[in-house]
């Protein structure tokens, strides 16, 4: 390429060049001399893509330089990620179990003792006429007594009684839309006002307690996730810091031949991203194995209580979110480390 240049054009060449070195390119020499700036509109993107492919290639090369250390970093990240993810799946499962209970809010109407059995159908009809009410179930005093006998085991004590102490009870199932404590309050007030009703009781307190416990669980997941995510960032950051130090010579040479900080930074950012993602992938695997390990005893446990429940695994969407989060944390950690340590390295 140098031979074909005209010998006598030595002085004319620089004189004809633009004054700004950034935009300037040697225009000497016959033949095509495609420069990035001259690639045309469509090529700007391919130029950038090329840059990134280049960075990705060297980022993998850097991972492969010390495979054992890379693996150890990835495992450390995986452990940090697996803990909150396991907790997340546990909370998710508990919520799944309680999801069916949301509609089970019911109002128990204890009727006054003097209410005659003949009045009941009319009252039930009145209640069923309300649009908030889905169903009404009547528990007569006899049924209540029978149930008490069965559940309490106090048969002999009951036999001693000469009268049935139980009032008639109406179990009112509100519409699902009125299943929260706030929404059901007006209905409750209305029912308390009915002349036949002694007390109206909402069986919801335990649900609220459960919900509160779930909230604590959920927040714990976020808290742990946040802390351990921070940990992941620092693990990646530290690894990248060492990597930058190991590549000191290369970085100096790159700076000397005109590489921008952005160009030098890019492979390190990709490396950080791969660390985070591979850690997340291992974490996904760990959680999967752990859940598979627990699956059978859990369904056995639930079965003993007469239930039928299958442990929910981390689904594909959750797993992909984990991968993305891991990658983002790695990227962030790498960015923090590289930004600081790259500026320390200046060629001398």
């Amino acid at each position: 390429m140098f031979r074909r240049r005209p010998k006598k054009g030595a002085v004319a060449r620089p004189a004809g060049r633009p004054a700004t070195p950034a935009a300037a390119q040697p225009s000497t020499g016959p033949g095509p001399s495609p420069q990035p700036a001259a690639f045309g509109r469509g090529s700007w993107f391919s130029f950038r893509t090329h840059d990134h492919l280049d960075a990705i290639r060297s980022s993998f090369a850097r991972l492969a330089e010390s495979p054992l250390a890379s693996l150890m970093t990835a495992v450390a990240i995986a452990i940090a990620l697996a803990l909150p993810v396991t907790l997340y799946v546990a909370v998710m499962n508990l919520q799944q179990i309680s999801a069916g209970w949301d509609n089970s809010a019911q109002i128990s109407l204890f009727l006054k003792k003097e209410t005659a059995a003949a009045e009941l159908p009319a009252l039930v009809g009145q209640l069923q006429g309300m649009q908030q009410v889905v169903a009404v179930k009547v528990v007569t005093p006899d049924e209540a007594l029978q149930e008490f006998r069965n559940l309490s085991g106090l048969d002999e004590a009951v036999d001693v009684l000469d009268t049935n102490p139980f009032p008639a009870v109406l179990l009112v199932m509100p519409h699902a839309m009125y299943s929260t404590p706030q929404a059901i309050e007006p209905l409750l007030v209305r029912m308390r006002a009915l002349p036949q009703v002694e007390t109206a009781q909402l069986d919801m307190d335990w649900l609220r307690r459960w919900q509160a416990a779930m909230d604590i669980g959920q927040r714990t997941v976020w808290l742990l996730g946040g802390l351990l995510g921070l940990g992941v960032m620092f693990v990646v950051g530290n690894t990248i810091r060492l990597l930058v130090q190991n590549h000191r010579d290369e970085i100096e040479v790159q700076k000397l031949i005109g590489a921008t900080d952005r160009y030098i930074r890019r492979p390190f950012l990709y490396t950080g991203c791969w660390y985070g993602m591979s850690g997340a992938l291992i974490a996904w695997l760990v959680v999967y194995v752990a859940l598979a390990f627990l699956k059978e005893p859990v369904s056995q446990f639930v079965q003993l209580y007469g239930g039928d429940y299958r442990l929910e695994m981390l689904d594909l969407q959750g797993g992909l979110a984990l991968l993305l989060d891991g990658g983002a944390l790695g990227l962030l950690g790498a960015r923090l480390a590289v930004g600081r340590h790259l500026s320390d390295i200046e060629p001398t």
Binding site: M1, F2, R3, R5, K7, G9, A10, V11, R13, P14, A15, R17, A19, T20, P21, A22, A24, Q25, P26, T28, G29, P34, P36, S46, F47, R48, H50, D51, D54, D249, E250, E252, V253, Q254, K255, L256, I257, G258, A259, T260, D261, Y263, E346, P347, T348
Partner: protein, 240 residues
């Protein structure tokens, strides 16, 4: 037209040591200049100022119309792309092949693969190392490594070549070979500034010689010969 213009340039390091004092000179585009003087005279410092590795503490450095006093850190990479630098210790990356080393400036520039191959091969051909492109730098002799360094410096077709003691570790024959390479690049229009203390070698080229002593400009021969004279002079040099 002056490619390099130094006016009253000084460089004082922390602690008060003056590496350069009140240097005023200019180098025209297309010139080949030898910078000489004892070690510690300030040759390297001057080259570092030109490559923006260091900044002057006094005076103005203007290269290719760009006043270095006004250059922001973010602009430095783009200015360096116009300057090919050659070092005494080559500064090659040992974990990459000769080809990859030479390709570095082109990768940074974002050329496509075909263009990179074409240019790297052309540069390696020019320095006579086309057949060794797959080798690692450590498998090459000192002279060959230096030629890889030169190929890397010229592959991007820079305006200006700066060489800091490029023959410091080479025997006389190899040194002469390297200098002839610089001369060839100069002949196709590249401005070349070579710092060297090898006076015998320098004198044989009959180029302009700037001598520094203790940070000051001691002597500047100016352009000694006109071009045809130079050609004749060069023809008398041993072919390598």
């Amino acid at each position: 037209m002056a490619l390099i213009q130094l006016s009253n340039v000084g460089k004082r390091y922390e602690g008060g040591y003056d590496a350069l004092r009140a240097i005023t000179m200019h180098i025209d585009a297309g010139e080949m200049v030898f910078l000489t003087g004892r070690s510690g005279a300030g040759k390297s410092t001057l080259l570092k100022l030109l490559a923006l590795i260091d900044r002057s503490t006094q005076g103005t450095v203007i290269v290719n119309g760009k006043n270095y006093n006004h250059v922001k850190p973010g602009q430095i990479p783009y200015i360096r792309r116009e300057i090919g630098m050659i070092f005494q210790n080559h500064r090659l990356l040992q974990d990459r092949s000769v080809f990859d080393n030479v390709a570095l400036p082109l990768l940074i520039h974002g050329y496509n693969r075909n263009e990179i191959q074409r240019r790297v091969r052309a540069a390696l051909d020019k320095v006579g190392l086309l057949k060794k492109e797959r080798l690692r730098p450590l498998m090459l002799s000192g002279g060959e490594q230096q030629r890889v360094g030169i190929a890397r410096a010229v592959v991007n077709k820079p305006l200006l070549l700066l060489a800091d003691e490029p023959t410091g570790n080479l025997d006389p024959e190899l040194s002469s070979e390297i200098m002839r390479l610089f001369r060839e690049f100069n002949q196709v229009g590249v401005t070349v500034l070579v710092a060297s203390h090898d006076l015998d070698l320098i004198r044989r080229f009959g180029c302009r010689m700037v001598t520094l002593d203790n940070g000051e400009l001691l002597n500047d021969t100016g352009t000694l010969m006109t071009s045809p004279e130079l050609e004749r002079h060069l023809e008398g040099l041993p072919d390598v």
